[in-house]
Amino acid sequence: MKKLLAVVLTVAMLLSLVSFAAASSLAGEYEIKVWVADKIKDLTEKQIERFNETNEDGIKFKAVVESQGEGDAATNMVNDVEAGADIYCFAQDQFARLLTAKALAKLGVKAAETVTATTDEGAVKAVTTGDGTMWAYPLSADNDFFMFYDKSVIPDEDVDSLEKLVEDCEKAGKYFSFDLKNAWYNSCFFFGAGCKSEWLTDDDGTIISVDDTYNSDKGLIAVKGMKKIVDSDAWNSTSEVSAFESNSAIVVSGIWYSKDAQKILGDNYGVADLPSYNVDGTDYHLTSYFGFKLMGVKPQEDKVKAAALHKLAQYLTGKDCSLDRFEAVGWGPANLEAQAEEAVKNDPTLKVVNEQREFSVIQSAIHGSWWDIGKVIAEEIQPIAADDVDGLKQVLQNYENKMAAVFTMSSAEKEAWTVIGMYNEADGFFFTDYSDGKETWTADLAMVKGDNGIWKTEQAWPMEAGVEFKVRQGKSWDVSYGNGGDNFKVEEAGTYYIVFDEAATTISLEKAE
């Protein structure tokens, strides 16, 4: 009897464990803030409501959905992560900035597996960093640019050739609106000719160098192609589809304006991928940037809330919600199942988006200064004669000079000595990137130059015995000193200034009073 009781009790206990596991530990009510584009604000509210009703974990979100365009979201997040939204949408090129600002939470292993299996391959790449970690949920795969045109002016057979399009517009006395005074749009001539402009980031998402070949023979082809449109009276530098109302026949813009363009043009709505331009007998297809819209979850103190938020983000970027958005605002899903739907496959605008995607370059992190460096090209080549090769080359040279200056350190920075070393228990943020805990040898600690080439840290730091470090110049390992070839080692715990004698190349510790 006793045995039976024991068995019964054990079973009961196990059952209770099981049922405990089934009623997920995520159950509960959470207050959250969500930022999405205004167009999908009401829709997202409905989708969150639906998530509340259908999810099996007993999660209830009380969500405040605010409209915040994908372009601005990152800037606002970076300004004050704490006050930012728990879930927000952003354009792919903002990814690195948000990583640097610690505004994105990692995906768990399971979530990462699901996203990898159900999402567009390119999109998965876009949210994954070098070490294989995923940081965001792909929301849509449609951020490139292409051509809206007025069918009553432009014959369909002309849409493949830039020269013919310019001619058609000139003949009809209409504008060809192409925002070439914007680096994002004029890059398509360079990429079309085979140029490269890639910004390289380190693991933290900080941009460290650029691989850019605008200033080359290919770049020369690109500016020659660009001349064909900027020299024409028909050229108008805008990407607003409302330009159709002020005498434009063509507007180069993107999916975000597709519904508006349809409304404005009505039956004359035409859409096509970008044309080719012809230089010296060869055709070059204009090659746009391509990017994804992503949905990020802000890192949370409350781990349970974080897990619940990840579930919601996964839901919002899943098949059903992607299809909702496609129907409501025409966004192209990143979700594979949604992509496979007939309606999505046959949508004329999305077809063009995907045709253009064949001629596109993935838009990843871009240094903030590039926009201003690149946007002047169209204006600079305008007064130069089309056959003045040296003049055109000079424009490219100016561009390269400005790009080179982005990463040039000042000579003071190059000569300055800094301390770099291992994690120091006595003081959690000495030597280290302090937001991320125990990373070592990652951050440089500044030193100040005193008399006779003696460099010294600005303040004394508590150090424990056994902490190792080196000093180096110009934040690079080309010139560095420790104790002989080894690292300098703290023998006795205490609070010290680190002192470096530049002439004798010796390190010493100076006890703080």
């Binding site: 930022w35 205004d38 409209s67 606002n76």
Partner: protein, 289 residues
């Protein structure tokens, strides 16, 4: 022919007529240039055939749709926020400024001159410098985002003591003997302010109220920072600006125009009715008695 002889030749009346004509032509040209944007905004706000920007000014179809639709957006909320902020700021700031001016004009105390100099120097720093710190402080007080309205009132009112110059100048022109007579008759300092000074300085009081009202009414930079994306805490300037982002411009452009017209209404009314005092207030303070 020299210029003077030409003038003599034409006669005084003719030359005056010519110069007047020139001046009027110039003034008319300038006012046309200045008025065109307002004119366009008003016309666009009544355009109902489409909601995006177009290349013509006169609407093809007229209607009140844009005004009616405003009420299904967050606009009323922004309007109320702005109104509350502006009214509270106008009242509090007026009280503070008048007390400050009265004190500095009539009282003589030890630190008076150093205090005035200190405030003069403080005033030379652009207010925007303090923005980040203020944001931090307000955030810790919980007065940002949806609660931005009280936060904004606090910011606007807090610095108002420094805007005493004009009204102090005006108070200085009121003869001190009036105060003294009242004091001899047993009036307190406050009674002097209330019964003697204020009735004599109506223009300056109105000027203070007006400027205090105008500041928050059109503020954008501070308001945008402090509301930080939360629609419930925005003022009209910030809210309407959002309608011009690529995401919304084609849907909300004409509504933006009608919003702009509504924003202008209270300020226009205030100025129409108080214009007389406003001019007196601005110039009155400059006359030293």
């Amino acid at each position: 022919m020299s210029e003077t002889s030409m003038k003599r030749h034409m006669g005084l009346r003719a030359s005056r007529a010519i110069s007047n004509t020139l001046i009027y032509v110039l003034l008319i040209a300038i006012s046309i240039i200045w008025l065109i944007p307002f004119f366009c905004i008003v016309l666009q706000s009544f355009r109902v055939e489409s909601t995006w920007q177009v290349g013509y000014v006169i609407p093809k179809q007229w209607g009140f749709d844009n005004y009616v639709n405003l009420f299904s957006t967050d606009f009323p909320r922004w309007y109320v926020n702005t109104f509350i902020t502006a009214v509270c700021t106008a009242l509090l700031q007026t009280v503070i400024v008048l007390c400050m001016s009265y004190t500095l004009s009539r009282f003589r105390f030890k630190m008076r001159k150093p205090l005035m100099r200190f405030m003069l120097i403080l005033g030379m720093f652009p207010g925007m410098l303090t923005m980040i710190i203020l944001y931090r402080v307000l955030k810790d007080l919980g007065l940002t985002q949806a609660n931005a309205t009280p936060g904004l009132i606090l910011v606007y009112v807090a610095s108002s003591g420094m805007g005493y110059y004009v009204s102090k100048g005006f108070f200085d022109t009121i003869p001190k003997s009036l105060d003294e007579a009242a004091r001899v008759d047993g009036a307190t300092r406050f009674q002097v302010l209330k019964k003697i000074i204020l009735p004599l300085s109506k223009p300056i009081v109105i000027y203070t109220v007006l400027t205090a009202f105008m500041g928050p009414w059109g503020d954008f930079v501070f308001a945008r920072y402090i509301s930080f994306g939360a629609s419930a805490g925005m003022n009209v300037a910030v809210g309407l600006y959002n309608w011009l982002t690529p995401d919304q411009i084609n849907k909300n452009y004409t509504m933006f125009c009608s919003g702009g017209v509504l924003v202008a209404v209270p300020v226009t009314l205030l100025f129409l009715f108080l214009q007389k005092y406003y001019v007196e207030g601005v110039t009155g303070g400059a006359v030293k008695g």
